[in-house]
Assembly symmetry: C3
């Protein structure tokens, strides 16, 4: 068996001088509290503080980074116990599933998943040999028995992980029951929600029509009319804000925005809720709704996150069996410069508007996003995201963005994960890479070491708090 390879200097540049500075910068930020303003953890964990289940249930089944790689090498999702929405059968023995994972752990060499998992195994569970076929069951048992201890309950881990604040993400129709449970407790300021209204905005969804009806029931508004629909959304935003939300999140296929007249909006809305809309109309409706959301953000102060560019559920046969979010989302080319113009023409100069842009298309970093964020006061850039939430991805982000947008048009790191145990590992990668980048600037005499030290703090902590308006938290 081989040891887990988790060197103190991992991800730092090899040159000793740069590495020394990177290490010093990292020492100054490694223990700062974690701000996690965008993610997908389950609020039930923090509301009820029950222990997690077994290793497989926590570390494999919900992690699409893990099972997509296994699937790409011919391992079926059925054999990995991924739940099916068509009701078909799937493996139910967590030990069998864990064994498959262990047997194939070599596939993850040089991927961020490997880095995160090794960090979890070693730092969260105290394991020291690398996962392999031989120790698979010992691993499984150790992790599963640790998870049963009080020190592995969600709130205990929040403290151990030094997570100052975590935001979850809920759909517009979510009753926020679990967040309500937290209200009034000492956790209220540490676990907040985020308003993600895609389910009531994206008319291409099979459940859109029905979701708009539910929105009406929930808000007692006539959501069959354009004005009633908007009022209902305003009301949900307010409810979310009362449960701590400072931000909205919009995961559209493209960054398209529109600026239609009210009567055009009314007609388009009618078409969409009729269930008879074309793909073009659905796209236009999403586009118009981004502009509407920007208008509401100006009213209520919520920060708007726009995450376009994913071709969702690309694998049709997998989607039919397993449903959404099963690793078959593929990035595609994404335009921002034309797409955002209608929204920016209407609201881009309003000092009360705050938009954070993300991308899965790295070609826009230097070409579109840095110039846009380096000009518009309403635009800032979210961190390297999803497939690019990786050492190389983060480096490309800094290298391609900084010269035009500077550091202060960026918003720090966010982990965007449902893999709670990996949150410290993910923030640690970001801290290491940012320090590495700053150290290179210092060694190339493009920045003084003093400035780099201040910037390391900003990138790790200050910018996230400010950009997501968490300063009162």
């Amino acid at each position: 068996m081989k040891p887990i390879h988790l060197h103190d200097d991992r991800l730092f540049p090899v040159d000793e001088k740069t590495r020394g500075i990177a290490r010093a910068l990292y020492q100054s930020v490694r223990n700062l509290p974690i701000i996690s303003p965008h993610g997908h953890t389950d609020p039930r964990w923090f509301a009820y503080d029950n222990n997690f289940g077994n290793a497989t249930e926590l570390l494999i089944i919900p992690d699409h980074y893990v099972f997509r790689m296994l699937y790409s090498q011919g391992i079926s999702l059925e054999s990995l116990g991924i739940p099916r929405w068509d009701g078909g059968s799937t493996e139910s023995d967590p030990e069998k599933i864990w064994r498959i994972f262990a047997d194939n752990y070599h596939l993850f060499a040089a991927t961020p998943s490997r880095l995160w998992l090794d960090t979890v195994f070693k730092q969260v569970f105290g394991l020291s040999d690398m996962l392999c076929a031989d120790n698979a069951m010992a691993y499984y048992k150790h992790i599963t028995s640790e998870l049963a201890k009080p020190t592995y309950k969600p709130r205990a881990l929040m403290n151990r992980f030094n997570i100052e604040l975590i935001a979850t993400t809920e759909g517009a129709l979510d009753p926020l029951t679990h967040h309500a449970e937290i209200q009034g407790t000492e956790w209220e300021k540490r676990v907040i929600t985020t308003f993600r209204p895609d389910d009531v905005i994206d008319a291409s969804r099979e459940d859109f029509k029905q979701n708009v009806v539910k929105l009406g029931e929930l808000t007692q508004q006539d959501t069959q009319s354009w004005q009633g629909y908007l009022t209902a959304l305003r009301q949900r935003r307010e409810v979310f804000r009362r449960h701590g939300a400072t931000a909205t999140d919009h995961g559209h296929p493209t960054a398209a925005t529109a600026n239609l007249t009210v009567s055009e909006c009314e007609k388009l809305f009618d078409k969409c809720i009729s269930g008879q809309s074309t793909e073009q109309e659905q796209e236009l409706f999403r586009a118009q709704m981004l502009t509407e959301m920007a208008g509401m953000s100006i009213e209520d102060g919520m920060v708007m996150q726009i995450h376009p560019g994913s071709f969702r559920n690309h694998n049709a046969s997998l989607f039919n069996k397993f449903g959404r979010d099963k690793g078959a989302d593929i990035p595609q080319q994404t335009d921002y410069v034309n797409a955002l113009k209608p929204l920016l023409d209407k609201y881009g100069s309003d000092p009360k508007l705050n938009i954070i842009l993300f991308t899965l298309d790295e070609t826009v970093y230097a070409r579109e996003l840095a110039p846009l964020a380096g000009h518009y006061p309403s635009l800032k850039l979210g961190p390297a995201w999803w497939f690019h939430d990786s050492p190389e991805g983060m480096l490309r982000f800094r290298h391609q963005v900084t010269e035009t947008a500077g550091f202060f048009n960026t918003v720090g790191f966010n982990d965007d994960t449902r893999a709670f145990l990996s949150i410290p590992a993910r923030h640690d990668v970001a801290r290491r890479i940012d320090c590495r980048y700053l150290a290179s600037l210092v060694c190339e005499h493009r920045l003084s070491e003093n400035e780099a030290t201040d910037l390391a703090q900003d990138l790790t902590y200050n910018l996230a708090k400010k950009a997501y308006k968490l300063e009162g938290y």
Copy 2:
């Protein structure tokens, strides 16, 4: 207060061996004269040699790199004294403006502006503390008083900066009065013009129709007919050549070219000067005119520069108040391989044609531009430009272009700036980065040190003189 951080080894790689070679190469070119074959300085400066005004007027108000960054952080252009074309009020106290700039100087950390400005402050004005809130007024006064000295007059600075030749850029209707002033003096060979006919070619401009009328008045040609219009352009090109121009410059939104029949051209031209043309017709007219300009370049030997890919004046409300060139130009995806084909089909194999291509879309470096320039004798590649005129941008250019196009299909550096004082700093960055790149090739044994030394001279001086046909100058 902190010192200005301007290390002798700035921008060199950290590795000592590579740095040593980079340093040696740089020593061999650092004092070569500057050839500036493409830029936007004001010919009046060189014609009349008057002193510049105050620090704010020279260093902030004309520099869109500077005020776009300030604007992106919520500082209004009004407060920065940017002149408005709607006649609205704007700050007129240069000291107040300078103070805002100084208070926000940290925003420029790790940007090329910071590098250029620090170099100007230290090397041109002898300042040694970094600009900050505390020394803002001392800075302002020092710079402003220096600017009043004879040694800071434009021609004195031309000599101090070792600028052998500088090209300005004038529209087709420009009377070239200031260049005429220089004709017959010893400065005639050092300050030349460039023919930029966008104002009489781009039918989407609000002043296009009127510009074509003026073109007729200026040339005594019937510019309401296609043939008269072409003759007028030929005539203006000749006038520009008599004022030193060796090149034309074309800043179209795209690189589209066309190859229409004469009768199609006539119809399209009529439509465009009627003021009734559609966007598609305007695009097609620009496309056809690039091909016409190529034809005239073959006749008169002028080098043709094509700079596509900017979405001009993206911020509508800012444009309405402040007009063009206010930092709201955003690059967009740019195709060359299809766009240039009509022109290349017609003229691409003519040994008398010389086109220099620029891009704001780095994705085309390796994919389209290097393969095109590495094949067509008529095509060469301009340097990393505008947002990419930066250490990282220049490195990406060399890394992505050299393996396919080699060095001899590139044309050296040009500064493309109206910020006269920053010209030495900009060329210095290019020299350092080119030497750094060459040094890496040497250390990886991909080039001998002798070859690198020759190439450093070529990239710094020879290629620009040759590509812009400045050898007789």
Copy 3:
């Protein structure tokens, strides 16, 4: 005269620690046999084992990397002896041509051609001075006289180069006479063919109609009907398999695929063979045929290589004189995520399907290809190719692909060349760069040295054998 600069440590990183590890990894793979599963060498060489001709005929005339660079600097293809298909005259004195090449050898500085050529000159021919004007004729004579020796015959070189297996590429109509010659000899397992049916699939070709007729004659099938045409293709695939082929190769302009009904296919096919098809119909036919080929691959087990993204014969006047493959192929933007969906919807989950994707558009590495290959079991990624078969190109490939696709969704290196003598040089570059990349991962503590050693073997040898199903060879 300067020595050929071919350092033992070429292409390794300059940092001593990383270089040391790169060197050790490279030592472990440098002498592994060469697997060349995709290329364009002439099967006659291996079938009849005759000596090659002179230096010019072998090293310049067939190498479009070489003559495209010379052409880009104004040297006509006529003067380089490139054969014309319009029957026009062209230089026939090989010494004159060689002299031009030698005079301009400096143009290749820092290109992969220079690296390959220097390696051939030194390691294959024992030359030690770099090619230049002064030694041009000595070079020519030395190379030409060496080529006449028995030790320079193709089979002797196959052994000397340690090429375990080489695949050539033949069109669907090729009689495979030369491969038949090899059948039953000890070379049968070392020289195999590849099925490239573009000539009978691409209806935009001037010879398409006639090729489909020939296909019918060759197979005794009614290729004027859709079903007969498909049967004929199946039959040709079988013949190719009997001549060793394990793979097909598809060089379409785009990666478009389609999934039409049988009756739509029939209509489209009729239109295409009528010679009356539009460009759109030709594109749709190619798209449908990729899906058909995938279906046949599932039946017969052949690995499918898809190489899209080249705008062929971009230079019209050159094409008219010299025909195809004369260096005027320019990459263009290429979509995969939408283009491949119809094929993947139909066959993507079939465990028997094996597709290897290549690209000339590097922007898709991280955005589309790595996510696709990191998900679909049927997809793997071919190496950096053509313009990107270079040190920088290979590094970009690894840096942008590995974090999402891992190593095991890639297929090792292939040289894709008709320049037989350069094959060892090309594989050597790939081995050096892969070892360099792995060494960096080790030094940044992202991989253990043990893992890197195993991976170096995989990337050099195992993955290619497995991906191309050469394990029985």
